[in-house]
Structure formats: structure tokens, C-alpha cells
């Protein structure tokens, strides 16, 4: 679950990370209220609150030097359609903005904590050269990226924080307060990572001001969905407006669904088989409309919800059902397909491949259903048939 910058800052502040919180606005009245809470002397920064990254280059972050300037820029950004390299060409609408006092910057640092799956331990990734995109830096100057693993039971140790701090702020005078403050901030990031079951905690830039303050100027936090049961209070931070509406709808129906750009709707059991089905469609020249794993509990209700989702999408020109019955019985799946297809009135070609437990019975049911369903014996044949059926549509 992704969070907005202002939400992330709230969470980080609670674990001892120094942030500039500012004020959030989601409508013109909110802008006025927010401005009233800020210090009267500028400059200030207006920051679009969207889940997609790359908002700076996309015009979602602006500096304002006067109150009037601030008001204008806030109004301009709020409601704009922001198109960045992470939003796709359609962009995203800015529904919330953060107004915050600007800050003089002497030095910018990059820090993130995420899970290193290879080692099975959390990993701090950091660079003394913050502000820029870390992927770019990693590609061009890998030696400038610091990596430090954390023990999952013990968390970040003070010596790790100290060591990172001295490496991330190497030019400080011996008596500078910066390394100690930076180490404490890093400890706070680590506490946040563990406390909230985060999948990502990222601060870019983490800044040192000319007056030697150490501040998390931006903040990105993503929470692990699987651990949200431990943090029911964080569920309220979910902003469904930022998510794909089809995916939100699918999630409400308990479906594991990801929207894609193609025209072949896919309905598969199992994530790996679902991906392989999409891959095979593409291999045969088609384009999958979606990833959809109906899981091990495929029944009439799931089928119905899945069909409604796929058929409600004008992009879908054909549907491929690919079920390898293990626990799932194919005859029950077939019945689910038949019942659902009757209820939603099937207007596009549908290919169904059933394999595994009770596949014969399932195929027989479909064959005698009178529905315009094309059966397929194998995985390959099924994808070929559906690609053929939607070709030119």
C-alpha cells in the first residue's frame, strides 16, 4: 500500500525522524487554511500529493516566493493532470497538495530501506549524492551507492547508523553535530521500517541545511499489504482515488487482478499459470488485457465477478479461461462458467481450456451448454484460438 508524502512524514515523525510537515489542502478553501498555518515569510514549496513518482520533473513541485505566488501555484497544481514517467501517458489527477516552508540546502543525501530478498534481510541503500534518481546513479556510479544490511531481529544498530552517517556526510568538521543527528535520523527510519512493516522507506532528499540541521525533506513509505492486519489504524491511510478503478473493483470482489493494455481478457487459476498464459498470448501475437488469478477457490461467485469485470471493460474483445484443476474441480468451474456466462450475456468470443481434476466432465458440460464457447484441449491451442478469434478486432 503506497502512502502520500504527507502521510509518510506523519509516520516517520512518530519514530523520531525530523521532517518538515507543512499543511495539506484538497480544495481552494483548504489552500487558504493551509497558508494560514505557514510562517508568514517565504519561500514555500507546493508539492502535488500523488502516488506516482517523478512529480518534480512533471511540474508537480513548485517554489513560491510570495504569498500571492504561493496561492497561485497551489491552485494551479491542485487539480492538474500530472504526467510523469511513472503515470503513463494518461497521467494522474492531483487531488491533494502539500504546502511546506522551503529550506536552504547545503547537501542532499539519498536513503532508503527495503527488503533484500536475496539475503532475506532488510537493506539500507544510501548515497551521499541525493536529490537525483537513484536508479540513474546506480547505473552510472555504482561506487557511490552504500549498502548496509540490517538484522531483522535486532534492527539497525547504533554503530551501523554512525558508520553510515560518517560516510554520507564526509566533509563535516570533527565537532559538527551533523553525523550524530544524521545517525539518529537513520535510526528513526529503521524504527519506522520495522514498526510499520514497511516494504519501502525512502527519503530523497535527506538534507543538511547551511545551519547544520538534518531533515527528511521528502518521504516515501509503502506498507506491506500482508502485514496490514497488524496495523489496522494504518488502513485509513489508503487512498483508493490513486489506484486503478478496475483494480479497486476487483480487489473488492476478492480477485487478484492487474489491468493491462491488451484486448484479451484472461481468467486463470494460479499466479504463475496466469502470467504464463499472458506470455503465451503475447508469444502468439496477441495482447492480454489483464492478469487475473481466481485462485484455488474458483466458484460461481468468483467466476461471475470475474466475468463482469472483464465484460464490463470495452477494451476486452475476447476471453480466455485457463484452468488447471488441482484442488479446484473442473466440472464445478465449468458450471460456474456456464452460470456466469448466462447471467452476463456473453458478447465476445470465449475460449475455455480445462485440465486436471474432472476435466472430462467439465468439457462435456461446456459442450452441451449451448453457449458460444470454444473448447481447447491444451494450453497452447487455447491461446492460439483466442488470439485468432480476436485478430483484427
Amino acid at each position: 500500500m503506497k502512502l502520500h508524502e504527507y502521510q509518510a512524514k506523519d509516520l516517520l515523525e512518530a519514530t523520531g525522524v525530523r521532517v518538515l510537515k507543512g499543511a495539506v489542502a484538497s480544495d481552494p478553501a483548504g489552500i487558504e487554511a493551509a497558508i494560514a498555518t505557514l510562517s508568514p515569510g517565504g519561500p514555500w514549496v507546493v508539492k502535488a500529493q500523488v502516488h506516482a513518482g517523478g512529480r518534480g520533473k512533471a511540474g508537480g513541485v513548485k517554489l513560491a516566493k510570495t504569498r500571492e505566488d504561493l496561492r497561485e501555484k497551489a491552485r494551479a497544481i491542485l487539480g492538474m493532470t500530472l504526467v510523469s514517467n511513472q503515470t503513463g501517458p494518461q497521467g494522474v489527477k492531483v487531488r491533494k497538495i502539500l504546502l511546506v516552508e522551503a529550506c536552504d540546502i547545503a547537501h542532499e543525501i539519498y536513503v532508503s530501506i527495503l527488503m533484500d530478498r536475496k539475503e532475506g534481510r532488510p537493506l539500507v541503500v544510501a548515497s551521499a549524492e541525493g536529490g537525483m534518481e537513484i536508479e540513474e546513479l546506480a547505473a552510472t556510479h555504482p561506487e557511490k551507492i552504500l549498502k548496509e544490511h540490517l538484522d531483522p531481529l535486532a534492527g539497525m544498530q547504533p554503530h551501523q547508523a554512525r558508520d553510515l552517517a560518517y560516510r554520507l556526510a564526509p566533509g563535516e568538521a570533527p565537532d559538527s553535530p551533523v553525523p550524530a543527528a544524521l545517525a539518529e535520523l537513520l535510526m528513526g527510519l529503521s524504527r519506522a521500517f520495522f514498526k510499520y512493516d514497511a516494504s519501502l522507506v525512502e527519503v530523497n532528499p535527506l538534507i543538511i541545511t547551511p545551519s547544520k540541521d538534518v531533515i527528511a525533506l521528502d518521504a516515501k513509505v509503502a506498507l506491506e499489504d500482508n502485514a496490514l492486519f497488524r496495523h489496522p489504524e494504518l488502513e485509513a491511510l489508503r487512498d483508493v482515488a490513486e489506484e486503478n478503478p478496475k483494480e479497486v473493483k476487483a480487489a473488492e470482489a476478492g480477485l487478484n487482478y492487474i489491468a493491462l493494455d491488451g484486448n484479451i481478457g484472461c481468467l486463470v487459476n494460479g499466479a504463475g499459470l496466469a502470467m504464463a498464459t499472458m506470455d503465451l498470448i503475447k508469444l502468439h501475437g496477441g495482447a492480454p488485457n489483464n492478469f487475473l488469478d481466481v485462485g484455488g477457490g474458483a466458484n460461481k461467485d468468483t467466476m461471475l465477478a470475474a466475468f463482469k469485470l472483464l465484460l464490463g471493460d470495452p477494451q476486452v474483445k475476447g476471453i480466455l479461461v485457463n484452468i488447471f484443476g488441482g484442488i479446484v474441480r473442473c466440472d464445478l468451474v465449468a458450471q460456474g462458467v456456464i452460470d456466469a456466462a448466462k447471467e452476463v450475456s456473453l458478447a465476445v468470443p470465449m475460449v475455455v481450456r480445462l485440465e486436471g481434476t474432472n476435466a472430462e466432465q467439465g468439457r462435456a458440460l461446456l459442450a452441451t451448454s449451448g453457449l458460444p464457447i470454444t473448447p481447447a484441449a491444451g494450453f497452447n491451442e487455447a491461446t492460439l484460438k483466442i488470439v485468432e478469434a480476436v485478430r483484427g478486432k
Binding site: M115, R117, K118, G120, L153, A271, G272, L273, G326, F379
Partner: protein, 291 residues
């Protein structure tokens, strides 16, 4: 021969709620020595003809179980793994999906430091099966056939495809292990490949990967350096967009090298038989084995 489990493996099932008892029965019907169920408050009862205990320690003491199949819901799954390890179980198969990543990170650290002899498979996996001898998991037993191929996979139903195809090709399987689709796994390809290489009956290995992480690259490097048996591989997720989680918690495209295409190319470059059509896995193995 086989790896990890065989006809002598005595299995208990942690979590005998609806799913747990259903699959306990499935494994028992397949012929697995299911010796106990474990669930607090159900000690003293029976499930599917098998005695149930409150704790794994009690169950192990009473039955001598040496493997466990875990269906405990996600919030308690990591604890169930540790309970099994602490009670002396050597093979722990965690079927549960949705286990928090930090739980697994901590559990792996504890397994390593306190229970180094324990092999965990999963979580979020279909389990492990040695055809005709022992099935611990949710896979449909009847598609398997005792034979010559070892199968190692991150995916569930896609594994069934590979099994189905190798059975249809008349090859059969020695042991099939679904290692699971989570970012942190109890056993990785690297942990299991040496076992297949050492197993005299395994003649070829099928490796089924996914986008996300670099486990496939590690496997390829290991294969190149240490293995003689041929390997056929497929990697799912060529069409997966960057940054989207494809069902499995671990199936998410990361950096530039982390696409399915890049992984397939990488595998091929090591000399592994990488197929881009998942319906041709069985045929490729047959070809490789000269059949």
C-alpha cells in the same frame, strides 16, 4: 530415489481447519503417512482418522512425525514454522500464503541461528511430492507419475503444467518441489539443486521461474559451476508491467535485468534449455533426454 520426502516420511498437519483437514485427507488418500494434526483447543480429537494434538511437541512425542505441512493462517504461520522446528521437525512445508515479509525475514534468521538442521519449504507454495510415495501439499496427486525428472518451481498451477507435460511425455518425476512465490523463501533453488544433482534417479531438472529477484541467475550460476544434469527452464511474466505485483508477493519486476525476457536469455547463455513457450516444457525435456 527422490529428494527430501519418501515413503517413510511421517507427516503432521499444523492447522486443521477447513483447508488443513481437506488437504490432510488429500495427502492421506494419496498414501502419505499422515500421523497427526495440530491445533490448539482440538487436542484429543481426530480429523480424517488422524489424532489431533494441541501442540507440535505433543504430536511429535506421540507419533514421531518428522515433517510438517502448515495451513495455519498468515498471522500465525511464522510462529507455526518455529514451533515445528523447535519440536524437532526436520522438513517444514508452509502452504500458507500472505505471510508478512518481516515475519519470514525474522524466521529465517532464527532458523539459521537456532535450528540449522531444519529445511523449510515455502511459504505460499503448493508443497512437495515424491510421486507414489509422499505428497505434502495441495497439488493434485494423480497428475504425477514416478519417473526421471526433478521439478523445481516458484509457481503452483504452472508446476502442474510441467508435471502434466512430463507425465504425458512418459518421463515422470522423481520429486517436485514448489518453493513458493514469496520474496523470502525457506528454501531457494540453490538449496535444492544439489539434492537433485545427487539423486541418482533424477536425470533432468525442470526449473520454473518468475519475474522478481535474481534467484534464477543464482541457479544458473550454480548449475554451470556444479551440475552435470541437463536443465530445462521457463520464466513466467514476460508481459508483466514494471512495478506491479503479479499475484505472488515476489513476482514484481525490479531493475532492468529483472524481466522474464532477460532471465530467459540469461539462462540460455549459461547453456540451460530455456523455453519461451510454457506448453513446450515437457517436449523440451523429452528432447533433451533423447526420447
Amino acid at each position: 530415489m527422490s529428494i527430501i520426502v519418501n515413503r517413510d516420511t511421517k507427516v503432521l498437519c499444523q492447522g486443521v481447519g477447513k483447508a488443513g483437514s481437506f488437504h490432510l485427507k488429500g495427502c492421506k488418500d494419496y498414501g502419505t503417512k499422515m500421523v497427526a494434526g495440530v491445533q490448539p483447543k482440538k487436542g484429543g480429537t481426530t480429523v480424517e482418522g488422524v489424532p489431533v494434538f494441541h501442540t507440535v511437541r505433543q504430536a511429535v512425542r506421540a507419533t514421531g512425525a518428522d515433517a510438517s505441512m502448515i495451513f495455519v493462517p498468515a498471522p500465525g504461520a511464522a510462529d507455526a514454522v518455529l514451533e515445528a522446528a523447535d519440536a524437532g521437525i526436520k522438513t517444514v512445508v508452509c502452504i500458507t500464503e500472505g505471510v508478512p515479509v518481516l515475519d519470514m525475514s525474522r524466521t529465517k534468521a532464527l532458523l539459521k541461528s537456532r535450528y540449522p538442521g531444519v529445511r523449510l519449504i515455502g511459504p505460499n507454495c503448493p508443497g512437495i511430492i515424491t510421486p507414489g510415495e509422499c505428497k505434502i501439499g495441495i497439488m493434485p496427486g494423480y497428475i504425477h507419475k514416478k519417473g526421471r525428472v526433478g521439478i523445481l518451481s516458484k509457481s503452483g498451477t504452472l508446476t502442474y503444467e510441467a508435471v502434466h507435460q512430463t507425465t504425458a511425455a512418459g518421463l515422470g518425476q522423481t520429486t517436485c518441489v514448489g518453493i513458493g512465490g514469496d520474496p523470502i523463501l525457506g528454501s531457494t533453488y540453490l538449496d535444492l539443486l544439489p539434492l537433485f544433482e545427487a539423486d541418482p534417479e533424477t536425470e533432468a531438472i525442470v526449473l520454473i521461474g518468475e519475474i522478481g529477484g535474481d534467484a534464477e541467475k543464482q541457479a544458473a550460476e550454480y548449475w554451470k559451476a556444479h551440475m552435470k544434469k541437463p536443465m530445462v527452464a521457463f520464466v513466467a511474466g514476460r508481459t508483466a508491467p514494471k512495478g506491479k505485483r503479479m499475484g505472488h508477493a515476489g513476482a514484481i519486476v525490479g531493475g532492468a535485468d529483472d524481466t522474464a525476457d532477460a532471465k530467459l536469455k540469461m539462462l540460455a547463455s549459461y547453456g540451460i534449455h530455456a523455453v519461451d513457450n510454457p506448453s513446450l516444457i515437457g517436449a523440451e525435456v523429452a528432447k533433451v533426454l533423447g526420447k
